[in-house]
Amino acid sequence: MVDSHFFQSERDEQWFVGLTDGPCDTQNLAETVTDPKNGAIAQFLGVVRNHNDGLSAQAVDYDVHPELAMKALKKLAIELTSVYPVRLMMVHSRGLVSVGEASVVIAASSAHRKDALSAVADAIDLLKVRVPIWKREIAPDESHRWLDGYSLRQD
């Protein structure tokens, strides 16, 4: 995956994290984490759906604090690659993503499947509660609402 697709990205030998404008590129995900030592690749795509809480949706507009989001993604990547022997990539969208398009992509490779699967599952769970990103859901009639989430307040 080419870094220039991203408005912010950072990589290490074991991980790649990035923020992209609009939908995530879902092609060639495996390429980013491929390693001849690894026999398993797990992937997760978070895709915008056409309904939420009983209401119809046509798109989600993602707001991002780039500095904080990159800091949180990088910290998460370092943490997960220290827990699991994996190569890991995590990318999230900023801006408008329509129904059916991916807003988050995560991939991990490992020697055996268990570590890659666990790393991907932990990555999406933790991304949702740590990375400063917000969703503005847009209805078919163009009205919108900001979705509630997890407070980062610690005092």
Partner: protein, 83 residues
């Protein structure tokens, strides 16, 4: 009294991208109080609950209310909802 340029994110964006606030006190708690008063002035009492669950940041550092205001620019981060 200091002036802080506050950048809005998430639900607070409905009020605009940023606002300049006078803050009477040295702590982030004082900044929070100033934001609350501003929301009341704007008739946006509905945002007070969100404000109470929000956190301030200077650059890429998240702050506690007991922290000192050390910058004239801050961000206000409501509860997050990525993914």
């Amino acid at each position: 009294m200091s002036t802080v340029r506050l950048h809005f994110l998430g639900a607070f964006r409905d009020l605009g991208d940023e606002i300049s606030l006078s803050v009477d006190g040295p702590l982030v708690a004082d900044l929070r109080q100033s934001v609350a008063e501003n929301f009341l002035k704007l008739g946006r009492d509905d945002l007070l609950l969100v404000l109470n669950r929000s956190v301030f940041a200077f650059g890429d550092n998240l702050l506690c209310d007991s922290d000192l205001i050390t910058s004239s620019e801050a961000s206000l981060l409501p509860p997050i909802a990525g993914g």
